[in-house]
């Protein structure tokens, strides 16, 4: 939306898209490494199997202020607990990059907002989302109203929860979806 602040992830991800694979990898790996120098080996040629816990990743400057940081990391981790291997780490950055296609972003956005991982955005997911977005400054009635309206607007099949298709249909038309 508004604040077009460029932070260095963009630059990194640009590099990624420009196919400077090695450079990008080493840089991103540098980032990954510095999160937990004792855990992550510098030498990645034989793909060591190591994962970083959620708490470390969430503290990256890119994510620190994000209300959904935990969900983001969790939805990118294979085990759903927020432990990221390097590849998952890279994946997270590439999806969050401005270069990533909207379809892909929609998929991951859906996963991020799906707090209870049931593949539907139901009311409680929305409530959680809303409370995170507004730092719980809305009254419960307002939250209720907003959630109901949101579901009513986007729910096309009338099952009172948003499936991915509903979500996608809605979000791809949004003017400022992840821009």
């Amino acid at each position: 939306m508004g604040n077009k602040q460029t932070i260095f992830t963009d630059e990194q991800l640009d590099a990624y898209q420009v196919r400077l694979v090695c450079v990008f990898y080493s840089r991103l790996h540098g980032r990954y490494h510095e999160l937990a120098p004792h855990l992550v080996p510098m030498d990645y040629t034989n793909e060591p199997d190591c994962k970083l816990p959620l708490a470390l990743i969430v503290n990256m400057p890119e994510l620190k202020e994000n209300p959904f940081r935990n969900r983001i990391v969790e939805s990118f981790s294979e085990d759903g607990m927020g432990n990221l291997s390097f590849n998952e780490f890279v994946d997270m950055f590439s999806v969050l990059s401005e270069m990533a296609p909207r379809e892909l972003k929609a998929i991951y956005a859906f996963k991020i907002y799906d707090f209870n991982v049931d593949n539907y955005l139901c009311k409680e997911d929305l409530e959680k989302t809303l409370n995170k977005l507004t730092k719980e400054e809305l009254t419960p009635e307002e939250v209720q109203l907003v959630c109901e309206k949101a579901i009513e607007e986007a729910d096309l099949d009338g099952d009172n929860k948003l499936s991915f298709a509903d979500f996608e249909n809605m979000i791809t038309r949004a003017p400022d979806f992840l821009r």
Partner: protein, 947 residues
Amino acid sequence: MPRKNDAAKMDEVGIEIDGEVSDSDDGVAQRRNNRRQAAGRGGAKGRGRGKKPASDEEEEDDEEEDEAPRGRRGANKKKPAKKRGDDDSEDEAPKRKRGGAANKKKGGKAQDSDEEDSDAPKGQKGRGGKGGKKGGKEEEETKGKKGDAKGKDKGKDKDDDKDKKKKKKKDDSSSDSSSNSDEEEESMSEGEMARLMEEVEEKKKLIANIRNKPWRMKRRLTHLKEAQAFVDKFEGALGKGKGRKWYAYKVMMTKKWIKFQRDFENFRTACIPWERKIKEVESHFGSSVASYFIFLRWMYGMNLVLFGFTFGLVVIPEVLMGLPYGSIPRKTVPREEQDTAQDYSVLMDFNGYCKYSVLFYGFYNNERTIGLLKFRLPLSYLMVGIGTFGYSLMLVIRTMAKNADVGGGDGEEGEFTFAWKMFTSWDYLIGNAETADNKYASITTSFKESIVDEQENQKDENIHLRRFLRVLANFLITCSLGGSGYLIYFVVKRSQEFATRDDLSWYEKNELEIIMSLLGLVCPPLFETIAELEDYHPRIGLKWQLGRIFALFLGNLYTFLFALFDEVNTKLEEEQAIKNASIYAMKEYYANYSRLVNDSEATPPPMNPADVIRGPCWETAVGIEFVKLTVSDIQVSYLTILIGDFARAVIVRFLNYCWCWDLEAGFPSYGEFDISGNVLGLVFNQGMIWMGAFYAPGLVGINVLRLLSSMYYQCWAVMATNVPHERVFKASKSNNFYMGLLLLVLFLSLLPVVYTIMTLPPSFDCGPFSGKSKMFDVVMETIDLDLPAFMGTLFSYAANPGLIIPAVLQIPFILLIFYIHFINSDDVFLTIQARDEEKNRRNNTDSTNQVMKDLEDLLPNRSLAPPPEPEPEPKPTKTKPGAAGKGVNLQKDVALASPNPNARGPVSRAPGPRGPGPGPGPGPGPGPGPGPGPGPGRGRGRGPPPR
């Protein structure tokens, strides 16, 4: 990572991609298919060749040649290709197919056999295959080989990449490319190159597409890397050949250009002034207040350009190259005024030295050219005066058109308001704690805005009472408008009376300005109070309010203008008298002079320029009026902020400690930011500038200063002293309402200026047009003197009033055409149409929905079904989000490929039926094609290899 599971189950990449293909729509399927085919073809052929004697080689060359164009022709050609493959190697094809596609191990085996044949003892499977091809290539020295190697390379990489390390692969590919490129340089036919290019293109597409796939990251990354390596390699290879440098160059430049564009874009966004300030305001006060500041910023930009024109082409040349102060009468303060010319009060009224300065029309000399550069100042003055309007018109219309493009806000609102807000409002780029706080604040605000909107909609009302109140409110407002109009009329009359007297108090002198400022101060709050009766939604209320204040200001402005015209007319008469008198005096002087000195040579009278009799110079008088009005407007608005907002805030804040009731929550409270008043103030101020700029070039400079200072001042004031609106609401995203007002004001201010330029005679002794009978005569003069003669006659015909008046009347139509042109150039028409259709559909469904909802539970489904027609199809398959992803991709692409919904039918079927789909097409193809392969996907993937 839904796809992950599927992917994990399938060992084989080829299968997986085909699976993907069958799920996706035609376009993607064909593209990808094509690529697969190319790979399969190459691989199979290579293998076939390995077994065959070298004598087949030439045939293969031919084939190669044939294939290239075929490949180039693109997606639809897969069927013929398949057919061919069957014809060529009836018995081998199935085996190859199975070997290549059925599973990895088989593929590996087949390749092992190849290796044996080609005497290339390479150990590992993946690279072994490649190496084998290379060996074969060396033996046979065919160009076909290279393609094979490539295809093989690709196919094999696909199969085996998981086993390999990325780096090694890279090494491989680079070594391959080097060895390949040697051969390429010698013998790369055109068709081959085309194929190569096509493959590169396909790989590029794969790179683009691969990011769309919600695969497990590992898989995605390996694919991506591999495709990138491929593209790198062969783009490089393409670049190495003779005459192909331009290609590499082009590719490189495209990349650089994209990068540059992005950087430039970043730079440009970084250069937008006050962005942070405005965002800060927005986050605290909502978009409606921010829209005022954005408008202010836009105005500042426009005025800066006008300022550039005026000062660059008129004021600076006159200052630098024109005659200095005191050289001629018009540049000198008259004798009788000289004593008081430096008094503060006189200067504040823009008399004295101010009046005879470069700020005003009268100072400019009518010399045709000035300075060494022969700068035609009078012409330039006229052109700048007209150009100001022209530029403003273009800019306003352009901005309106652009807003119409961007601002889907108005049209689409209400569709997914809440959902969008909920899911898209967070800005993922925020990394700054403070900004994040602001963002939280602004998101909360925006949610509240929407809630207010919603409650507004749901409100259930007493229509009759509402109507009565609205009629009453409008009646009251009409009354007050009429009253203010009469008041101004009265004051103007009085001021004309005063004009004849000398002993005026300060109040009497400035009565008109004071009354007008007071009206502007008192009426808007009055209207607002009356508007409470109407109880409109705040956004609609704002527009009404704006409209009413607009009417008020307009009335004031035009009353003022008429008064001014009266004044001008009296001045004109006066001037006529003075002119005659001065001509008479001059004649007399000359007569006396020649009689006394007996010299017919006319030398100017030895008179101090301060003593010369001069006319009233009505242009300067008009300019002074406008400047005074502008300045008093600035003063009033700044004082209002200082007293009405700041002092109030201070009092409320500090007296609250020792007061009997709660000042902050109770009566005075803090001020709210008055959007409508401020916007209109800005618009009318601009109107004043447009009108006055011709008579007072300095006005533009004053206005620039005003806008600049008010940006900071108001930003500060709003942040420091105001509270957010009680009923926060969202301004429409496009500022087109403001722009519309501005356009109207522009037209209204254009009229009097054009009228004066066209009809009134300029003063005889001041200003750049003195001595001409009409101002635009300066154009005629230039045409006559500086352009060829025939142009002069041409223009004299064209300048006929009979032609000019129709031309002026057509201006609105021309503008309309411009508007449409701008809109068209952005393809807005289409989007608007689409939007409208969508909205209509939506509305229909909504209405049906509401009516029917209570009756049946089923109906909402049915009534909602039509618009999202594609939806139901993906849904059943969407047990996993991944599948859903695919479904939706498909949907989108289909929409792009063909609007026909039927096309979707076969595509969205499960992979099974889809495979045979293409099979039956080719006729002879179907049998061997999908038949032998265990699955259609595989059949298609590796099936069609010709040999």
